[in-house]
């Protein structure tokens, strides 16, 4: 009893003390500060990426490539005299970790913007948080339609061509190359798979997909799904899968002695990465694999050549994959936006710069950002694996609500050694 009373007294004293301190120091009090993450000679930006966990093998090389491009830019004097500092945090592709690391980036590291946060389930979990804190949420690494809600999330912009665009283009190409195609879909059980399915249905008609199967990243087995698809007589499988599951699907089908046509979203069709998954003996199963891309991921492109050089010099000569093109293109696009945001960029001015429609990017068609379109690409180009090498064909599709129409690709020319002019 005696002890209890003394604790209460100590507690009361502590409360009093705390209340007093409160008046003096209110650390959590919101303060109108200068632009976070921007000084006279640096810009600090952050990202969340799967460096460990199930998605790491397929995507961990992206942020390394982006960082290498920024280093290259920094060595050339930076953008408007500012060095870009890129803080990469690992979230293991787990939304719960994403929430923690993004708060760390915003509150501890005080980043200017989040750039290229990777993944649909992961990034969805911080969308509201970033919006409430007014943090520019640039070039999300996912094609989910979620990023294109300018009214609700005015600071969020997607980087990938949206999944609906990709799904529609992949299905249209299947139709164009084989009028009798039986089109089926295997998709991830989230916005990714749903978006691809929506795109495919845009082309083949609602409910006309012969077989639609889904998988969950938590379960490393797609035998049942592929069995059902084989049973249904699918000839063209459109995959809304990440790299690991594309490899799994192709490998599982090969084990079943089934070799249909694979039409794969850009998020899961990086040939070198797939070869790494399947091993050299599994690689022939990838022959003829059709995918779409919106980035200059072709050895014939000047960008590809520049990025290879940067990769050798600043990325310890890591193997050059589609992820390298992707990561460096993200870097270029951010640098272009930063340069366009003016001498003294603010969070508002960089969002305005992206919305201005003046950014061109480096893809197969100019960027389509505007005040009411927060997606980068509505046009994608077909790439096919031939003799163990993935390269573009001359087919490209522009997708609108009416469907996919064939267009001629128009790549942005490389200028000024890949450094956007301020």
């Amino acid at each position: 009893m005696r002890t209890t009373r003394s604790t209460s007294r100590a507690g009361a004293a502590a409360v009093l003390g705390l209340t007093a301190t409160t008046a003096l120091s209110a650390c959590s009090t919101p303060a109108a500060a200068e632009v976070p993450g921007i000084t006279d000679d640096t810009v600090v930006i952050g990202t969340h990426q799967p460096l460990t966990g199930p998605a790491a093998a397929g995507f961990a090389s992206i942020s390394a490539a982006t960082a290498a491009y920024f280093e290259y830019v920094n060595d050339q004097g930076g953008i408007n005299g500012r060095q870009i500092e890129y803080v990469v945090k690992d979230d293991g592709y787990n939304p719960a970790n994403t929430q923690t690391v993004v708060r760390e980036l915003v509150q501890e590291d005080e980043v200017f913007a989040i750039v290229n946060g990777l993944g649909t389930p992961t990034h969805t979990s911080v969308l509201d948080y970033l919006d409430q804190n007014g943090v520019p949420d640039l070039f999300v690494a996912s094609g989910s339609l979620t990023w294109d809600q300018p009214d609700e999330y005015p600071n969020t912009f997607g980087f990938n061509a949206d999944y609906v665009t990709e799904g529609a283009a992949l299905a249209q190409y299947a139709r164009d190359t084989d009028p009798d195609a039986v089109v089926c879909v295997l998709g991830q059980d989230d916005d990714f798979g749903e978006g691809i399915l929506e795109g495919v249905e845009l082309v083949v008609g609602d409910g006309e997909v012969a077989q639609n199967q889904t998988y969950s990243t938590a379960d490393q087995d797609v035998t049942a799904q592929l069995g059902a698809m084989k049973e249904a007589g699918c000839t063209h499988n459109v995959l809304g899968t990440i790299n690991g599951f594309t490899a799994l699907a192709v490998g599982t089908a090969a084990q079943m002695e089934w070799f249909p046509k694979w039409h794969v979203s850009s998020s899961g069709a990086d040939h070198p990465t797939l070869v790494e998954y399947l091993g050299e003996e599994g690689a022939p199963a990838l022959e003829g694999l059709v995918s779409v891309n919106y980035l200059p991921n072709s050895p014939s492109s000047d960008w590809y050549e520049l990025f290879s050089r940067i990769n050798d010099e600043y990325n310890d000569g890591a193997p050059y994959t589609g992820n390298t093109t992707y990561g460096m293109s993200v870097g270029y696009q951010f640098a272009e936006a930063l340069a366009a945001a003016g001498e003294n960029p603010t969070r508002e001015s960089i969002v305005a710069a992206v919305e201005s429609g003046e950014l061109r990017g480096n893809g197969v068609a100019p960027l389509t950002y505007s005040a009411d379109d927060h997606f980068a690409y509505r046009t994608v180009r077909i790439a096919v694996v031939t003799d163990g090498a993935q390269d573009f064909t001359d087919d490209a599709y522009e997708v609108s609500e009416a469907g996919a129409t064939a267009v001629t690709p128009e790549e942005t020319p490389l200028e000024n050694e890949g450094i956007p002019a301020g």
């Binding site: 002890t3 209890t4 460990t52 787990n94 929430q99 969805t124 509201d128 989230d190 969950s216």
Partner: protein, 347 residues
């Protein structure tokens, strides 16, 4: 009895005030961590009571937290949508009503699941109950994919609770959420304290020590065990509410096996049966991964990535071993006895 009750409430009120005051000393990120630890604390408190007093080991408390989280998120979202367009959507009613409805939803969801498990607990002994709860954790990701409305790996989002206008100039969002977290946790833990020191606690101890003897004394062991499980589930469910408020999201990835085992680690390290120990344990499991992250940040990227996510698991193992060897009663034994409750367990 009455004086005991008043003293308990007074103590709870004081500790809550103390915690609320402490939020002023923390920066926003620290407040976010405080809110997270508060949520974990509620669940660990429920767990430690269950293990320490009735001897039932649950490895599935993360799922009960998830049930609370989903219950909160789904109900609060519905209510927010229902309020939209009516005059009540703005101002205090706009967030308070969904919040309270959400808490009610969480209590129902966690309570239902807890009751089902509790009924099983009354019939299962030792490793079988543990196995059942373990299976539940492993099944969560698939269940979230199959049950409509839970939205698979992506999870569901919970409405954002904005800072009330009157406080907007004074405190940041994270601090406000820390306040809510502390209040919800206080509501979850205070009943546990009361139960533990009251008749129910005695019955639980009696059943734990010798079921036959307890039965002879007129206690129904099945009912006591089931009851303890339900109460423990409710606390875990409210813990889930806290995490949902702080992160505005509930996804199965946040409530995996690793996290569920961490709850047990927190209970063991803190000292089984001790609620103060549960608080220490909860803070430990929240902060340790972050500290490891800070410590490995300076390492070369490659090595750092390899250690990330793995080093903390090793450290937790070491902590458990060290604590059980040096202080078998848990960290709670390091603090001088100061409550009638911890005196209870000592006897």
């Amino acid at each position: 009895m009455r004086t005991h009750g008043t003293r308990l409430l007074l103590r709870a009120g004081l500790l809550t005030l103390l915690a609320l005051g402490a939020t002023f000393l923390l920066d926003p990120y620290r407040n976010y961590q405080l809110a997270t630890s508060a949520g974990v604390f509620a669940a660990v408190a429920g767990l430690t009571l269950l293990v320490g007093l009735t001897g039932q080991l649950s490895l599935g408390h993360a799922v009960l937290m998830a049930a609370g989280g989903y219950g909160y998120a789904l109900t609060a979202t519905r209510v927010t949508e229902a309020l939209e367009g009516t005059g009540a959507a703005d101002g205090i009613v706009g967030w308070l009503v969904p919040l309270l409805a959400g808490v009610a939803g969480a209590v129902v969801a966690a309570g239902l699941l807890g009751t089902l498990l509790g009924l099983a607990a009354a019939r299962l002994r030792g490793p079988y109950l543990t196995g059942l709860t373990l299976a539940l954790v492993i099944a969560l990701p698939s269940a979230a994919g199959i049950v409509p409305g839970l939205a698979g790996a992506q999870g569901v989002s919970a409405p954002f609770v904005p800072v009330p206008d009157a406080l907007a100039t004074l405190i940041a969002v994270e601090q406000w959420h820390a306040w809510l977290a502390i209040l919800v946790t206080a509501c979850a833990v205070t009943p546990l304290v009361a139960l533990r020191s009251g008749r129910a606690g005695l019955r639980m101890r009696a059943v734990h020590d010798d079921e036959t003897a307890a039965r002879l004394a007129g206690i129904d062991p099945g009912r006591v065990k089931a009851g303890a499980f339900v109460i423990s589930s409710l606390a875990a469910g409210l813990g889930g509410v806290v995490l949902a408020i702080a992160t505005q999201q509930v996804s199965p990835g946040a409530y995996g096996l690793g996290f569920s085992l961490l709850l047990v680690v927190a209970a063991v390290v803190g000292g089984l049966g001790s609620l103060g120990g549960a608080a220490l344990g909860a803070v430990l499991v929240t902060l340790l991964p972050w500290l490891v992250d800070q410590a490995t940040a300076g390492l070369p990227a490659d090595l750092g990535h390899r250690l990330q996510g793995n080093l903390e698991i090793v450290l937790f193992g070491v902590v458990v071993i060290v604590v059980t060897v040096l202080w078998p009663g848990g960290l709670a034994r390091l603090v001088p006895k100061n409550t009638p409750l911890s005196q209870n367990t000592e006897r």
